[in-house]
Amino acid sequence: MSSEQQWPSEWLRGVLELCTLRILADGPTYGYQVSARLAASGLGTVKGGTLYPMLKRFEASGRVDIEWRPGEGGPGRKYYVLTEDGSRALQELTQHWQSFAHVIDQILDRGAEPEEER
């Protein structure tokens, strides 16, 4: 999948939280790295203006802890660490998404079930 692929923005809005939580599950990471990994995975470019407010919401809701670390030859970086609440949210959202994706796959494969005749 090309990292240049542009998905409809309303699709991205729905999955961005889930994908970001999944990246954070791999270990502490910082904003730009999340954005770069999302792009490399084929989700497309996620601007800082979209990513950081979401990370702020994660922080406020206790899904992540944060830690500022000095940068190497550059400015400091804010690292995000997934909390237990964050892991639980990731699990729930993943299951939810998989059920949803299954439903959509079925619709796309077979078409929607005809309405039962009364």
Partner: protein, 256 residues
Amino acid sequence: MSRIRAPRKYRFEQELAPHVDPVWAQELTVELRLRGASGETIGEALAEVDSYCADSGESAAEAFGSPAEYAQELELPAPQQQEGSQLMTVVPILGQILGMLPVLWALPALSQGQEVVIRTGQIALLGIVFTAIVLMTWRVLKFVQFVLRRPVVAVLSGVALVGLMVLAVWLLQAPVMELSPVPMLIFGAVMLTVATVWGVLRMRSVSLTEDMVSTPLEDEEAVIRRANSVRWTGYVPILMMPVYTALLALVLWLFA
């Protein structure tokens, strides 16, 4: 993105977020302040943007959009404005006005050897000034937002307010009381001095670094240095009133 070079007036933005366009950084600071964000919150937001721009090589405008939009997106919790303490900051200023006006009213009468006639217009003027100052301070954030977001309406409102004061003094001429100019001058001078000293002492008691914008990894010395370099600005409004009074008194005395 490499460090951005900018004029000296942006030295704070340069220090806090060297990889961000300083005009953008300044606008974000203002937008967040208008939403009641603390210095710490603003510093952290600037540091996040700086870090991202340094890593990605993008400009802040490319990556984060306009400062106003980004400040809105951050969805900061509504500020808990401390109205009591805000109003306390204005008490010395009200005291200064209550000192300044009697001095200015007493001088012409003193130079002409007459009594001071206080008219209804002057009482109304005092009432308007006090009400305006208290209202502006009580809702200071809303007031600053209004001035910045609707500057034309704000200037017109200011002109209307001054017009109202002039009209009040001009039209309401009924005498209320007659006072001797010397005690009035002494009362005014004492009031002005006490209120000014109070204002200066209050300013000195405010913590040097209180609510300064500071980034998370910044050492305290840098914050103190920055706070020191702007400390004098806090004294300007307090010391302005006695200076104005002295200048106006001089003019009144010379031309009375």
